[in-house]
Symmetry: C2
Amino acid sequence: MNEKGAGDVEPLTEAELRLAARNHGMPLEALQYPVTPVGMHYLLTHFDIPVVDEAAWRLRVEGLIDRPLSLSLDDVRSFPAATRALTMECAGNGRTLMSPRALSQPWVLEAVGTGEWTGVPLATVLGEAGVQDAAVDVVFTGGDRGIDGDIEQSFQRSLTVETATESGALLAYELNDAPLPPQHGFPLRLVVPGWYGMTNVKWLSSVEVTDRPFTGYYQATSYNVRSNDDEPGEPVTRIVPRSLMIPPGIPNFYTRVRRVRAGPCALAGRAWSGLAPIATVEFSADGGETWAPAEVDPPTLGEAAWQAWRHLWNASPGDHELCCRATDQAGNRQPLRPEWNTGGYLNNSVQRVSVEVIEG
Amino acid sequence: MNEKGAGDVEPLTEAELRLAARNHGMPLEALQYPVTPVGMHYLLTHFDIPVVDEAAWRLRVEGLIDRPLSLSLDDVRSFPAATRALTMECAGNGRTLMSPRALSQPWVLEAVGTGEWTGVPLATVLGEAGVQDAAVDVVFTGGDRGIDGDIEQSFQRSLTVETATESGALLAYELNDAPLPPQHGFPLRLVVPGWYGMTNVKWLSSVEVTDRPFTGYYQATSYNVRSNDDEPGEPVTRIVPRSLMIPPGIPNFYTRVRRVRAGPCALAGRAWSGLAPIATVEFSADGGETWAPAEVDPPTLGEAAWQAWRHLWNASPGDHELCCRATDQAGNRQPLRPEWNTGGYLNNSVQRVSVEVIEG
């Protein structure tokens, strides 16, 4: 990458630019916070952020259940509450580091954040409604509406009944001890521990239990991993492991290349996986040729949130490419290079941070 | 603009992409809120967002003053407070709509927001310090440090003594009735009514009164309007008029083209100018060929915040380019097309919203 921006990434289109100007990642220095302050958590809005009138709003629970429900926000708040720290990541995080690039929200590596979500367990509400034996899927409909894949639609996603009741999913009305901000789904959203961001339907308006698998656009067409457009694809589900470092030193405003003084440099970051706790994080100062183990904290925020790591690097003058690599307890390890797919999903290849070390 | 993104905008560079992934605009549907909710206000960080230890932090007031000060946050809060609603806009808003494009943060039109800022009037603190007769400039230093224009520097800007004492500037410690979020300058920032965003130094560490004009990079080199690199340039100061509309109907996820049902369509938006209150807003449904007057509210949030406007448009089937145009009471009117400059500043040419109207 140089001052004119030549590098590994193909130039962006106007449509990608419009998305990049609206949506935003978490500046990576915010990895310093165990819980991401509101406004720094990544945010992707498929259509528009709706304004929801709390007084008129109701959550409908319907379909293959014994007792259809229509719940006000006070009704939802009257159930016993739970609070969970969840690391949320967009399935398209890292998309622009794949080539050729899928045309969608042009994330680099910032599409992540950890929130403390408070709400009622989804299992509680489904228990109250009484899910019938023939039930297969639970379909969640959001209040945002628009056009994608030439289809006019509200944003909808589904979970199997098993995942809906056993994943620890919440219907959340608070983020970081305050009512949900409009952009994060006020008054109520779904959050599912360990699943990618598209799962967590915002501005929730209905929960419908169905007798067949849901085949809506964002379930069966988008958010599927395909090596070509003719494949049915594998659905995106749980978060694959990733580690990120707080970029050390100070940045160049335009290129974001870092300047570090030679000598001991305390590196730190976070690592997470929706498949298992993180087992190891490794650090490389030579672009992934050689690796050293980093110190990794246990999952102090709970099982579905990132774990802190740190490593003391002895920075020597010159240009370096710093990398970090996580492996989870199920043996899933970040690859050195992306594995391409048509939608630009699940690119958890290692972070690469360009650093110029100068005499201290 | 089409699905593949071909349009008026040249493809973005990798460095611009990195900036776009970090910084963010205000999604234009947030024009519905008189005061922008935290997290939707635009945000540009030149370097990194620093973590400031409130207990250790002090504001130094120094230079050509009778009584140098070192103020804790409690000291700052002990002065009589003022609250002001301010519309803040980046001087580079609209940059990507100029061609050839200046290589910097690639804003489209979203780099704006209105906050309710609470703090101590800067004039109060300068009065307490006792500005000496030989004083010329007041230099504000932020806690963010990095490299720009090949110079390692902290972010710094200045105001003349006259502007510092008579502009209504605040040293703000609250945004929307809560402590400043880290990304908006915790624990203290400068906010100057009617001036572009770069004026409002975040993470303020010192205020220095000097006997000569400040010539730092962000004062004399960057943020100057030039038709070529050899000109000294005219400094960017107060905000020129702009109006924006809430994009009507529903969006296409990727292209952001709007779909509207034929029939009466209630359009609304906001307009502002740092030079004078808004006098008129006009609306065009034909790309600026013909204009109709919109209804404009008085400045209900105070003199330095945007004014609401609305217009009932009878949408007929077909493709339309919707525009709005503000004129302030000093006679400044938005141009139809950008006036180019090297830095991509002050592009207040009219907003153009592509709309597909279908039978209702």
